[in-house]
Every structure is written in C-alpha cells, then in structure tokens.
C-alpha cells in the first residue's frame, strides 16, 4: 500500500469461499508426464553406489578428477577421459543445519547437510549428503568445517543404485 493506493482492486477470495462453494471453480490436473534420465556419467555413478563404491571421471588435460562424474569437462571443453574409483571418505567443505525434511515437513531434530570433498577427487569435488553423529551445538558454532568424515552404507542387499545407498556420513576416527 502507498499514499495513492489505499486498497488493492479486485475481489479477494478466502479458502472458505472455495470450501463452501461460494464461487464456481474448475479444478484440473494437467497431464504433465515426464521421463528423466540420469545421463551416462551419473548412471554409472549410481550403479557403482550399489556396489559400495564411488566412481569419478578424469579429464587428462586439466587433470581434474570429478565427482559426481561428468562426461564433459567444462574447463577444457572436451570429453572426459577415464573412470577413476575414489574413496568413501572425505572432508566437509560446507554445511548447513536443516530444520525441514526433504518432504518439507518440520524436523523434530535438525539435521546437518554437507558437501563432502571426496578423498581421491580434486579440490572442491564432492557430493551433498547428510552428516550424522555430530553435535548440533558444535555445528551451530561452525566447528564442522574441514571435519573428516566417512560414508555409512546401506547393507548390500538393500542398495538400489541411488544416492541413498549411502545412508549418511559420520565423523572419521583417525588412525593412531
């Protein structure tokens, strides 16, 4: 609202007006079907997750090992060259505390979602996943940056070739 406009034109409707049938309406669900495919690189990536392994793709020109893998190097403008297995450990490079679930419901207990730079891949190459077994108060204080983590996998018989074959990442107990 402004000096000139005291009231918006039009006829506002309330939810009750619809419920009580005060206004005539037409309801419709468009027949908007789609097929989405993961592409060559990510299809292989997901297949390898089923085997409990993380696979990356290497560009021999810039030398980058990319995860998630891609078939084309956006730096060199050329197809990438080879498949490389990387580790299931890594380092948290950025994270956020979420109070909302993936289905946008309110979470009783907030969760930490992070981008994990995967060991064996190039700098800043990583995947977004959940992190469990960390203290939320420490997370709020920004203490998770740089933390070493390891993937916790689903049992092999339950894996289905999806990113959820990794349940979450947990803090890695360093040897020695």
């Amino acid at each position: 609202m402004s000096e000139k406009i005291k009231e918006y034109p039009g006829h506002p409707l309330k939810a009750e007006d619809f419920k009580e049938g005060k206004v005539l309406t037409t309801k419709w669900r468009p027949n908007a079907k789609y097929a989405w495919s993961a592409g060559i690189a990510v299809s292989r990536f997901l297949k390898e997750l089923k085997n409990g392994r993380i696979i990356a793709r290497k560009c021999n020109k810039c030398g980058r090992i990319m995860v998630p893998p891609r078939m084309f190097c956006e730096w060199c403008f050329k197809p990438t060259d080879e498949w490389v297995y990387v580790k299931d450990t890594g380092r948290i490079i950025t994270y956020s505390i979420s109070y909302i679930s993936a289905e946008r419901g309110r979470l009783e207990k907030p969760m930490v979602v992070a981008v994990i730079e995967i060991d064996g891949a190039s700098k800043n190459m990583g995947i977004l996943h959940k992190v469990e077994g960390v203290d939320i108060e420490e997370a709020k204080d920004g203490k998770l940056f740089g933390m070493r983590v390891k993937a916790v996998w689903k049992p092999p018989e339950e894996r289905e070739g999806a990113i959820t074959d990794i349940l979450y990442f947990k803090p890695l107990e360093e040897e020695g």
């Binding site: 005539l24 468009p30 989405w36």
Partner: protein, 157 residues
C-alpha cells in the same frame, strides 16, 4: 573418445514422473454471474455497452472498444447461428471417437460473440454455416455452473 548418444531415456538410469501441477480456476466477477445464471435459471446473459451498442457474450466487465465499465446485463436467449464448424474424430486426449462429434462456434443472435460447443440431434452432413440452433440444457439438479451445463446446441425446426 566420443560421447555416445542416448536416444531412449529408458536405456540408462531413469525415472518417470507426473507433475502435480493442480490448479483451481475461478471465473471472475462476470464469469461467476454468467455461469450462475446458467446453473440456476438455464439463461444465457450478455453484457451491454450502451455507448458502442454491443452485447458481449460471454459477458465482460469492460467494453473492449471504449473501456467503459459494463453494468447492463441482458438475457440474450438461447438461440444462435453456426458461424463455423468442424467434425472431430478424436477426443481431447487424442483417442479415437466411435461416433464423430460436431463442434461449432455458435454466435448468439443479436450479440457480439458466442461460444464453441457441440452440435446435437443433427447429422454432420446436414450442418451448414448460418444454421439456426438453440441450446439444450441439462436438468437443473445436474447443472454445476459450467459450460457443460449446456449439453449441446440443436437445430431449430
């Protein structure tokens, strides 16, 4: 190495989905009143611009020519003229129709405008441009306030 082309998304990891882009459409002030009259009274109304001497069907809130607000509502009867027509052999989903349907733009007599509707009680070969037709309404208890409250238009004997 060249990248092989994938032509069928089902050849690789894929998902099928259906976007739930549901919506509820409201008719607006003029549309609401127009369809209420059809639902309650089986009457077709138009909106008249006194300045331009035009009756709009379906009714509008404003005259498209002079931008004057239209306040006069006039019952325009249920008779019209076939302005143009076509014969449909497929339904709105592209499925084959056993019995072809005749769809026409019907100009309501004495007005500017009209609507696209089905023709009934007539054979396709007997339809012609300029044919006089009238609306056949559903029974009152079956009417919902929609254009389908008119079953079809039939020729006037």
């Amino acid at each position: 190495m060249s990248i092989e082309k994938i032509r069928d998304p089902r050849d690789i990891k894929h998902w099928f989905g259906n976007m739930e882009a549901d919506y509820i459409y409201t008719l607006g002030v003029a549309g609401e009143r127009f369809f209420r009259e059809i639902k309650e009274n089986a009457k077709i109304f138009g909106a008249k611009c006194k300045k331009c001497n035009i009756i709009y069907v379906p009714p509008r809130m404003y005259c498209e020519r002079c931008f004057e607000e239209l306040e006069e509502w006039i019952e325009v009867g249920s008779r019209g003229t076939v302005y143009t027509f076509t014969i449909a052999y497929v339904d709105e989903n592209g499925n084959h129709l056993e019995k072809p349907e005749i769809w026409a733009f019907i100009k309501i007599n004495g007005t500017e405008g009209g609507f696209i509707h089905k023709l009934g009680e007539v054979k396709a070969e007997d339809v012609y441009i300029g044919m006089e037709v009238e609306a056949v309404f559903k029974e009152k208890e079956q009417r919902t306030g929609s254009i389908t409250d008119i079953l079809y238009f039939k020729p006037i004997e």
